[in-house]
Structure formats: structure tokens, C-alpha cells
Amino acid sequence: MNLAILLLIVLFSTSCFFFGRKKIINITAANKIRMNALPDYYGYYLALWCAIPAVLILAFWTVFEPTIIKAFIINNITSSNLKEFNSDELNLIYQQIKALYLGNFTGTLTEEIRRGAENYKSFLSIAEGSKIVILISIVIVTTLYSYKKLINNNKAREDVEKIFKAVLFTCSLVAILTTIGIIFSLLFESIKFFTTINIFDFLFGTSWSPQRAFVRDATTITPEEYNELKDAFGSVPLFAGTAFIAFIAMIVAVPIGLFSGIYLAEYASKKVRKYSKPIIEILAGIPTVVYGFFAALTVGPFFREFGERFGLEVSSESALAAGLVMGVMIIPYVSSLSDDVINAVPQSLRDGSYAVGATKSETIKKVVIPAALPGIVGSVLLAVSRAIGETMIVVMAAGLAARLTINPLESTTTITTQIVMILIGDQEFDSPKTQSAFALGLTLFFATLILNYIALRFVKKYREKYE
């Protein structure tokens, strides 16, 4: 229904465009005058005025209609019944009424549900009718208003500009509000978690086993219970595991990525560069889950067999396998970014170095790389934050056991893996275990935020140098 209305509005607004444009062309021709703006602008002006208010009202209506109808229904139930319901029961009844209306009701049909469904139906039709009436009148009013302004030769060009600006602003606002919304939802759940578990116990505890934390009422935790509970939620092993795997990944990605970036920027001929750069960038396009089973099924077992030959005990899920594959995944980020920053070093610096008799590698080592260093550091930090946030590979290849270890051959686990483990399956939403996922997410968010901030600062500093 809404879709049909939307389509109608768009159709009407399109015809308004042509109508408005034609009108202005006629006026211009008949009176031999030059209008304030080109005919197209008057077309746009009319079309936008016709469409935007109506679409906005339609959107608000669609968002708020269910809430309002629900309020009416619940009001009906409570006023026509002597029995007192609490909010959970009211919610249940409302859901049953909706189910009955939609025809997929199961359970015992009571009088109030039947009556509610009738009410629901009538409310819906009233809403539908009034919606259409309001929309039609809005479209007529705004179209007439803009048409009147249009034939009075308003400054359609400036007005279209304003509307355009407003549309752009709204779009960026959506992005910003979404970010803020995500942060707040993380924050609120985390705060709930931190009321149960002390934030310092969470940040500095060295034992992580959330499966030990049985659901219990957070308000009645005895000190003994708390002691046990805090041992379930010490996040240090997770951070250590994350940092460890990211470290292994960077050991792989930084040299290979940086050197291939240098090769591409300084040595590769135009032809080689043209073909090899996209190929390297394909690495970045491979879904991480593919890397994941590559790590779990190929690299992990390979290391185990290889280790056995030397009498080493290698877990088939190891930090080494996960880190290695993650490093391969990150190579294109480092190489592509460092290629860009090396290319941005002005040719005049290289010329200056060649002119005093430096060779190419001396020039790269002593002039180009130092000049590009802030940018390179920036790209490495961006790669680190990417490594820290990576989930799929570690879920599949690094294991789940949260232990503090620096042996790359043992299995270890990361923050992201644990978040996945906590949230898959049926979970009580208000248990400390579930909430701990939010706390982990928040901490991870801050860690990558800080890294990204530092990276961007480096990159910015680098940019200023040549401008």
C-alpha cells in the first residue's frame, strides 16, 4: 500500500516537473522575457515541492502508525476490563490481537482478543483512509503553493540549491546519527554489565570463562559469588590473544606489503604496475570467510604436520596459522596505501638525490622512505586496526580457549571470537554473559578508535609537509 502511494507521488511529481518546465517555456516565449532561472529549475522546483513534504509525512506516518494504534488498542482493553494487566500481559494480548488479525493466531481465543482484533481492523482502515486524505491534500496544497510562486517568477535556481543542500545534509545526518546510536547502545549495555562486574576486574582480570557465569539475579550477588564471577570475566587473555595474533599478522603483512608497495611505486614499469596492482588488490576482495577455511583446513593442519616432523606439539588451531593468513589478507592494505604515499613523494626530491650521485636504492632508503614515513606508519596502523577487528579467520583458525600464552603454536582466542561465541545461540539478553559481549565490543571500539585516530594524525601530518 505504502509502496503504491509512494509510486503515485513520484509519478505525480515527475509530471509536475514536465508541466512546470513547459509552463515556464510558454511564459518565456509568450512574454519575450528572460526568467530568473532556466526552465529545468522551475520543473525541479515544482516537482520537489510536490514530492518532498508528502514523502516526509508518509515516512513519519509509517513509523508512528503502529505505536499509536497499539496505544489505542491497549487503552481500549484496560478501560473495558475491570481486571488489571501488567505491561507484559498487555504486550502479549496485543501480539495475539495482531496475530488474529493477520490470520496466524494459535492458542485460546478470548473475548477481549476477538474484540481487540475487530478494533484493530477498524483502526487500521481509519488510519489508511485519513492517511490518503491527508497526503492528497498536502500534495495539492504544496503543488499549488509552489505553482503560484513559479508563475510569479521566483528565484527557483536559488531555491533548488537550498533544497539540494538540505537533502545532502539529511543524508550525512543519517550516517552521523547511526554512528551515535551504535555507540550509545554499546554504552548502555556495557554500563549494565559494569554495574555487575567492576570495570577494573573486567579490564585487568586474567581469567576468562563466561560459560561458568550462570544466570543469576544481578541484585543479589554475595561477595563469594562475585569472586567467582569476576574470574569468568577477566578480559586480559582476550586482549593478549588479539594483540598476539595481530602482531603475527603484522610481521607478515608489513614487510611484504611495504616492499611490494615500494616495488610498485619505484621499480615497476607502467605496464607491470597496471596489471599487478589490481591483482594484489583482489586479495582485499576475497571474503574473509574464504581466508578462514583456508587457514583452518590448509594452513593449520600443514603447520601441525610440519611441527610433528620436528617433534613439536602444534595445535591444529594455532595463533600462528590464524595470524599468518590474516597477514596475507592485510598485505594489499599495506601495499596499496604505501604505494600511494610513496607516489605522493615529489619527484623533485628524488631528482635532488640522484643529482648528488645517489643510486636508486640509496635514494629510496634515505630520501623517499623517510619522507613517506608518516604515511607508511599511518597505513600500518590502519592495517593493525583492521587486524584487531578481524573476526572470521580467528573464529575458524585460532581456537576458543582463552589462555595467556606467547607460544604461537598453541590455540588462543581473540575479543571478536569471544563476542561471536557469546552471542550465537539462544541467550538470556540480560545475563552478565551476554552483556559482557557489549563491554568487549565497546573496549574493542575504543582500541581501534584510538589507533585510527593516531593513524589519521600521522597521515595528516604527512600531507601538510608538501602543501
Binding site: P346, S348, L349, D351, G352, S353, A355, T359, K366, K465
Partner: protein, 257 residues
């Protein structure tokens, strides 16, 4: 004008340069004399920069560039594959149009050349080279108390003198200057010109310039390029007072270019 040391330093014969399909220099025959300033003038795109970039083989950097003909320095052919380009550039310094100090300290900018060529075996020697070079480029008094500061923090004119110091730090025989003053204000330009007067006592200098006045002020010989041809070369005095070629006459009097 009396020529005190008119020994030929650089002798170019039948030099042709191509950038891809485009011929940038056509059969250029030019002699550059020891310890004097030779100015190359001509309208934009006439090949004067291309010419000096042949002398220290800086055109090697450009993939599509092809050079044929002979360039001899002190009788030694340098336009062939056997020549060690790195050694050649050590002997022939270059100063560019836009000052291009490295994003390093003033000290490191000057010490860069001597370090990569191993000219100083200990720190004191290096300090000494840096100091002499900066003195020769008339920058020492202005920067001696802040050698640790980045070279890029200097003013445009100072940066260009720093680049000159960098060029002379490896003790070259020839200094090529590619419009060294075009990005500078008149005062900085005057300083560089003054400096060239001093430098020509030790070095052979080839300067590309767009300013006829500058050519008159600093050079002893002038060559005029047009569309890849060397039209005329003679003493600066003669070139500007009584040129043989009508085209030279027209250019220096500002009738074209």
C-alpha cells in the same frame, strides 16, 4: 673581454634527444668553457633544460627518452652505457628550478652527498665539509645556530642556497642550474647571482634562465636555443650587443618568445 682560462670543459657534438616521438634537441654542437658561467636562453620548450639534463644524465630517469650524439667532459665520452652514472653525477652537480631540500635537517641535507660517497671518514671531517659548503653557498651565517632545524623551514631563497650547498658538498667540477631563481623574489635572486660570481672561481657553471637581464649579469658566454636548435652561441657581450643571427636579435630585444 679577456678569457683567462678558455679550456673546453664540456664538448657536445651532434646531440639529438627524443622524448618518444618528439624530438627535443636537434643536432646540438656546443662547447662549455672551464670556470666560467655559460647561460642558456630561449623560449619555453626550446630544449635548454633538456640539454643540461643530458650533461648529468638526469634524462635517464625518463623511460621514453633517447639520446644520441657525443658529450665529452674533459675529453671523456659520457653518453654511453659504460659510464658510471653515479660517479658522473658526483662530478656534475645540479640545482633545480624549485628549491627541493630533503625533509631532513639543514645539516643532513648538506651531509647527504658526502655520506653516500664516503667522503668523510669521521664526524669532524663531515662537520667541516658541511660548514665549508654552507659558507661557499653564503648560507652559513644565517643557519649556523640552527643546523638541526628542517631544511624545509627556511625561506625560498635560503632553501635554494641550501640546495646549492648540497650540490657543492661532494666537490663537483660542474654545477648545472636549471632556472634557479625563477621561484625566488628579487632580493633572493640577487644573492644567488652574487654567489655565482664567487662560485665560478672554483666551478664551471651552466645556467638555464628565462631572464635576459640575468644572463647579462652573471654569464660570460650565452647560447640561444629555439625549437630544439642551438641558434647561436658566443660571448655574452657579443650576443647581446651584436648577434650574428637575426632570430637571436629578435629574441633578446623581446620581439618573440
Amino acid at each position: 673581454m679577456v678569457m683567462t682560462n678558455n679550456k673546453v670543459k664540456i664538448k657536445t657534438e651532434k646531440l639529438d634527444v627524443f622524448y618518444g616521438q618528439k624530438q627535443a634537441l636537434k643536432n646540438v654542437n656546443l662547447e662549455i668553457f672551464n670556470r666560467e658561467v655559460t647561460a642558456l636562453i630561449g623560449p619555453s620548450g626550446c630544449g635548454k633544460s633538456t640539454y643540461i639534463r643530458c650533461i648529468n644524465r638526469m634524462n635517464d630517469v625518463i623511460e621514453t627518452c633517447k639520446i644520441s650524439g657525443s658529450i665529452k667532459i674533459d675529453g671523456q665520452e659520457i653518453n654511453n652505457k659504460q659510464i658510471d652514472v653515479v660517479r658522473l653525477r658526483e662530478r656534475i652537480g645540479m640545482v633545480f628550478q624549485k628549491p627541493n631540500p630533503f625533509p631532513k635537517s639543514i645539516y643532513d641535507n648538506v651531509a647527504y652527498g658526502p655520506q653516500i660517497h664516503g667522503l668523510a671518514d669521521h664526524k669532524d671531517k663531515l662537520d667541516q665539509i658541511v660548514q665549508t659548503s654552507l659558507k661557499k653557498s653564503a648560507l652559513w651565517e644565517e643557519v649556523k645556530d640552527r643546523l638541526d632545524e628542517p631544511g624545509t623551514s627556511l625561506s625560498g631563497g635560503q632553501q635554494q642556497r641550501l640546495c646549492i650547498a648540497r650540490a657543492i658538498s661532494v666537490n663537483p667540477e660542474v654545477i648545472l642550474m636549471d632556472e634557479p631563481c625563477s621561484a625566488l623574489d628579487p632580493i633572493a635572486t640577487a644573492k644567488i647571482e652574487e654567489l655565482m660570481e664567487e662560485l665560478k672561481k672554483t666551478f664551471t657553471i651552466v645556467i638555464v634562465t628565462h631572464s635576459m637581464a640575468q644572463a647579462v649579469r652573471v654569464s660570460q658566454r650565452t647560447g640561444f636555443f629555439h625549437l630544439g636548435n642551438l641558434i647561436e652561441v658566443d660571448t655574452t657581450d657579443k650576443m647581446f650587443k651584436n648577434p650574428n643571427n637575426k632570430m637571436t636579435q629578435d629574441y633578446i630585444t623581446g620581439r618573440f618568445g
